[in-house]
Symmetry: C2
Subunit: 274 residues, 2 copies
């Protein structure tokens, strides 16, 4: 099948797609995002993300034919683009040359909370680094925590860097933005959740002492440098910490989240009997 | 106290220091490395790293006076440098303007194995990304695993990116390069260690099933993409895995290492009684 070509970096479709990659505001206003990379675009298609259009270079079409197949099948429109156009769309130094414009998932609209009662929840507040956010979503998926709420000034999970670090977990996460910590905490409590504020305080409860196999639990994790806002931590009924051997605050945000997520699921089913 | 100035990017001292930042070969040949950043340089000084010389900008001297104090006290020579010289030395876009040339730690010379019997060991093989290596060293320190061996083609822990990600843990880690996996495994076994190859194989032993509180343990972790070399995995007496809920291989290397390190120390002393 022949696809129409885009040869100029001034092409309005290419420019609109590039804006979705570079601007969180453009993503928010247009309710679309740009997905880059053969594997990530395939992941979007296979995960049921609504793809609107696809852009690929001639080189990518040969090299990534297997990935492109499901992407092209899911995309109502597709363009073959020249390398300089791919460079415009790309957020990496060496673009693979595969891109999709996708519809912003419904779930990321504020106020839409679709949470499955009794499943473990992760609440992230003010996470600033898209690499951290993506990595945490990837780890949450791998370990089986499927509900993640974004509070406060979390960075955009649909930015190119967050998408890349998430390895597509963003597409499959039960992800919701929530404006009010008090509203979310109230909702969790009314559904019988135990809420835990993760704090770097040796006086809080060591995470390994909490029996996450009983009841249902939500762990709140805050900003990389400053932790949870005090008023958010105060909304939680418990405080949990990771005891450390070295100097205080010596785990990075993603490592701390990894340990908390691991402990939330550790004792359950397939996680082993230890 | 007045310090001599370096105003030109052609100054041979500045050029030699810059080479230590940009070239692993220069570090190896000169047995020195370059440390950048006010806090990291202070960390080097306070951790007993042998500092040979210090470079700082006038701006840094005002802004980071508290950090510079211990650095200058530990450094036999110090130069005030112009901003363009700082840009030459820096591996970041916005340099703080504080740098030290330090002696390569004795421990990183191959064949020097100074390991404390009965303490947990981490063995890393072919870790390619300096950010991953630094993060893993930082996490190991935070969780109390103090002996780390580097096997095969691990990247340089003294590169600017690894140092930065380690938040100074490189300076304090019991770190040793070892050329032969067979020699290291033999040594560990002769000292009574149980050796575990970390593998993404659901048939291996789930990590939570291993009682790390009994005996002493060494966990071997391999390359980000390819895992351990088969011949290295075969040297280990056991195989350990992290059971995953999502798709296979969906944890990144640093997250997997975090979970393994956490489990190695989880049941011990201060880690909580759970």
């Amino acid at each position: 099948m022949e696809h129409p070509a885009i040869t100029s970096r001034k092409n309005p479709l290419a420019r609109a797609a590039a804006a979705l990659g570079s601007s969180a505001q453009a993503r928010r206003e247009q309710r679309r995002f740009l997905c880059e990379g053969a594997r990530l675009c395939e992941d979007a298609a296979l995960s049921g993300v609504e793809i609107e259009s696809c852009f690929f270079t001639a080189r990518a079409r040969r090299k990534y034919a297997a990935y492109l197949k499901s992407v092209l099948a899911a995309s109502p429109e597709a363009w073959q683009v020249e390398e300089p156009v791919a460079a415009l769309l790309s957020s990496t130094k060496t673009p693979q040359g595969v891109f999709c414009v996708c519809k912003w998932p419904h779930i990321l609209q504020e106020g839409v909370i679709g949470f499955a009662p009794r499943a473990a929840c992760l609440v992230l507040e003010d996470i600033q680094d898209p690499g951290n956010l993506g990595t945490i979503l990837r780890t949450a998926e791998a370990l089986g925590v499927r509900q993640v709420f974004l509070l406060g000034d979390c960075c955009d999970p649909l930015s190119p860097k967050a998408l890349r670090a998430s390895m597509g977990a963003v597409f499959r996460a039960g992800l919701a933005r929530e404006g009010s910590a008090a509203h979310l905490a109230g909702l969790l409590h009314s559904h019988g959740y135990e809420t835990h504020a993760a704090v770097p305080d040796p006086g809080a409860r060591p995470v390994a002492d909490i029996d996450f196999t009983k009841g249902c639990h939500a762990v709140f994790i805050g900003n990389e440098g400053n932790g949870l806002r005090p008023e958010t931590a105060a909304l939680c009924r418990g405080r949990v910490t990771i005891p450390m051997a070295g100097r205080a605050e010596s785990l990075n945000a993603a490592a701390a989240a990894t340990i908390l997520l691991w402990e939330m699921e550790r004792g359950k089913g397939a996680r082993g009997s230890g």
